[in-house]
Amino acid sequence: MDAAAHESHDAHGHDHHHDPRLAHHFEDHQHQFDTGKLGIWLFLGQELLFFGGLFCAYSIYRGLHPEVFEEGAKFLNTNLGAVNTVVLLFSSLTAAWSVRAAQLNNKKGLILAIVLTIGCAFGFLGIKYVEYSHKLHEGVFWGQSFHPTREILEEAHVTPGVVPMPAEDGSVDPKAEKIAMLKPNLHTFFSIYFMMTGLHGIHVIAGILVYLWILRRAIRGDFNSEYYGPVDFTALYWHLVDLVWIYLFPLLYLIH
């Protein structure tokens, strides 16, 4: 193409024998693909810096008050966290598979891989919903709203000790049975937990929306071995969401 293709443009700058999926300002599909890829990597670099702020807050709080994190992690369900890790890793596999299918002109495989990726994303959010609703139902909120109920304190096996347990109705009698002592500022752990997993969850939702759009285009037959940039770029974004979770899981759930 190149020079010859440019010369074939008419007075309006349109090339009537031109692939409509190739934007006019690119020389060829490779040029368009490389440019798109550069763009998505710049975006991913920015995403990393964006999450970096939260990881910085996490590191400083944990460095200063490791005991708060040790106790806070007891409230989290490690099994659900591990299952969610596997779900997200599997969705990364299917996302990578979708790129392969597009490169091989395998439309059915592409659609299947995208549907599996979206399915896993919903599975991840479903498990997250179970975790969140259990915590919020038991009074495990962020900041000043942190008033854990008796049930969840017993479930979390927090250190037996000095502070009176709240009664069934939430009131606190100083003479009540003293079985649990909460570390001061334990709520900070949950502020960080909800902020980090919440922001990650928003990224999962965004990923689902983009993948629904990619699915629509895949069914329409937009993609082939020459033009599959959007499939590749969405997969790259999806892998970054996976990457963040790879660190969140041990940092929040696996605290010794």
Binding site: G52, R100, A235, H239, L254
Partner: protein, 105 residues
């Protein structure tokens, strides 16, 4: 990417996930030791994802450099914040001790 490469990467990731959970439950390396072990395993997982699922080993070097620059930015950000905290933390502790002493009197 070939099917064996895709599946191999995935199996490696699952193995490392099982390993990190196993270390958490089964091995006590002390608070710091377990944290370091978990971070080393997480970084191995992240490298697998970046290298193969995100094609960085086959890709133009330029894309890798963009990402590496971002990682460097985050590392600098966190370390500079830590220097600041370690600089001021003794003053905060001293001030709290002084206040506690004043309250006793």
């Amino acid at each position: 990417m070939s099917i064996p490469a895709l599946l191999g990467t995935f199996m490696g990731l699952i193995f490392l996930t099982a390993l990190t959970v196993g270390v958490h439950y089964g091995v006590d390396l002390g608070g710091k030791g377990n944290l370091i072990a978990a971070m080393v395993i997480a970084t191995m997982k992240a490298s697998l994802v970046l290298a193969f699922f995100m094609h960085l080993v086959f890709d133009k070097r330029y894309n890798f450099m963009i990402f590496a620059t971002s990682v460097l930015g985050v590392v600098l950000f966190i370390s500079i914040a830590f220097t600041d905290v370690s600089q001021y933390e003794p003053m905060v502790q001293q001030r709290q001790a002084d206040l506690a002493k004043a309250a006793e009197k």
